[in-house]
Amino acid sequence: MTKPNLPTSISLWRKIVDKLMTILVIVAVVLAVIPLIFILGDVFIRGGAAINIGFLTHLPTAPNVAGGGIANALVGSFTMVGLAALISIPIGVGAGIFFSEWSTSQLSTVSSFMNDVLTGFPSMVLGLFIFIVIVLTTKQFSGFAGGVALSLVMIPIIARTTSESLKLVPTTLREASMALGIPRWKTVLRVVISTGKNGLLTGILLAVARATGETAPLLLTAATSEHFATSLFQPTASLTILIYNYGTSPYSSWQTQAWGAALVLILIMLALNLTVKLTIGRNLTGTRMEM
């Protein structure tokens, strides 16, 4: 839309207000972007100084003892996010297909509304829920409970992205397939899903990124540990809890390591998000990073 030239008779006051608002809007953009630059800058500078091979491969040490690392936290995070993905992908993708392919059914309307509500839910509440259901029952903090808590964070994201991307698959493709006498279930699995698979992958990657960055659901479920977890049923360390514990500690060596761990975490998040944004998610309208 091209903007028409304003009549020359327009009052000075209206011109001033117009310019003033343009300036205010630009100030708002600057104010929104500045924190990002500061946060990323601090994490890269301070974190970069803390990272070396030993940092990634060693176990944590006591405060102010040199040589401590985050190896067990890295392994713990990957294990729990992996478990969460195993649980959440079938449920999330299944529900997403149902929302898009049976969109007229009552169950679909109600469930997809609740799914949207869950997306904005405080993750602390999800952690508390899993604490009551699993930790109190098994009487211990565990990587298993942590993984289940993270899966609850992932399910709504995967379900929504799946249904949005499958809704973009043209109806004519479904009709063409059905016209060939292919049953509906095969049409859904072979035609609809394979056409919309980029969207599915996007949703899964975004959900993985979100789960990797979650702290609150792990506090009451996986807790933390200074050792490698040898089973799913013992307290398990994670990157985010380590950043929380070290960042709030009074020891400068731990604070430095918190910056290092923050850099590792942010690199993982950026890699996942930018992969989505620049490649597979590019042509999908309306997909965006999740937090």
């Binding site: 028409p4 399910i155 506090l219 975490l265 965006r288």
Partner: protein
């Protein structure tokens, strides 16, 4: 042959419907489990729990008011600072950059990146970088010059409502601006053209024809941002000081619903544990109310167009 095909359809539908049912079941189970866990506390304190202003676990004097107050105050600060900035960003991307799609996309990506930063990293940055900066360059000058106003009367040490509100403002900007941007983009161009044809300036078009049209959607975005601020745990827990307090003084340490759960669980048992679960139940109900309301507003505004959060 016919029946075998139908069986495939039925099996798939049942499997997928089970996944959809799971989501409904999850929300119901959340409510039930939290209620059962909180029942001892609900039975003991009744509705007085909501207005009790003292939190002394050793003597079983437990009231939720300081935490409700902390959550409301920090969210209010976040909204007052974050909402105008978010609206500015949304207007810039959807109105000013209408003819520069690529730049708008890039700027949108940058703001979205703020949303991808994990909250514990906001907390780390808040506790180690932002707190000393705010304390020395914002809070102390405000206290010294405007200390006679109750809002700024306390001696600032950095861990307080004000810092928590600022961090929350930064965190809700991506949410509100992304949703408002989508809502503004959904306003039909004929609205703008009609206004331009009457000789309006760019701002007058935005102010009188675009914003009113998008009103309920923007309100939905605002409520969604409020939901995020209310539920946020880690960043707030790390900077608010975690001392229950009800005071107009922004430079006083405080406590919120979610940071109480994060801090004091695990060490608790019996009635104390039940009271913390009741705090969780309050948080659940507030989040439910806010999110249902926001979704309803967005749904009404954008029937037929694509807006997602």
């Amino acid at each position: 042959m016919q029946s075998r095909l139908l069986r495939g359809d039925t099996i798939l539908k049942i499997l997928l419907a089970a996944a959809a049912l799971f989501i409904i079941g999850l929300l119901v189970a959340l409510a039930v489990e939290l209620y059962l866990g909180a029942s001892a506390s609900i039975y003991k304190f009744g509705p007085a729990f909501l207005i009790g202003s003292k939190w002394i676990p050793n003597e079983n004097i437990l009231g939720a008011l300081p935490f409700i107050y902390g959550t409301l105050l920090t969210s209010a600060i976040a909204i007052i600072i974050g909402l105008p900035i978010s609206l500015g960003v949304a207007i810039f991307i959807s109105e000013k950059l209408k003819s520069h799609q690529t730049f708008g996309y890039l700027l949108g990506t940058v703001v979205d990146l703020l949303a991808a930063v994990p909250s514990v990293i906001y907390g780390l940055w808040g506790i180690l970088i932002l707190i000393p900066l705010l304390r020395d360059y914002v809070e102390r000058p405000l206290h010294n010059s405007l200390g006679f106003i109750p809002l700024f009367s306390g001696t600032p040490y950095g861990f307080n409502f004000f810092t928590a509100g600022i961090i929350l403002a930064v965190m809700i900007i991506p949410t509100i601006s992304a949703v408002s941007r989508d809502v503004l983009n959904a306003v039909p161009n004929s609205q703008r053209e009609a206004m331009y044809s009457l000789g309006a300036t760019e701002w007058e078009v935005t102010q009188r024809s675009v914003l009113p049209y998008a009103r309920s959607g923007i309100f939905g975005a605002f409520v969604l941002g409020l939901g995020r601020a209310v539920g946020e745990t880690m960043a707030v827990t790390m900077v608010i000081g975690n001392i229950p307090a009800i005071t107009a003084n922004l430079f006083s340490p405080g406590y919120t619903l979610s940071s109480l759960i994060a801090n004091e669980f695990g060490e608790s048992s019996g009635l104390y544990e039940s009271a913390i679960i009741e705090i969780g139940l309050i948080l659940f109900l507030v989040a439910l109310l806010i999110n249902v309301f926001a979704r309803f507003l967005l749904w009404r505004m954008t029937r037929g167009t694509q807006v997602k959060v």
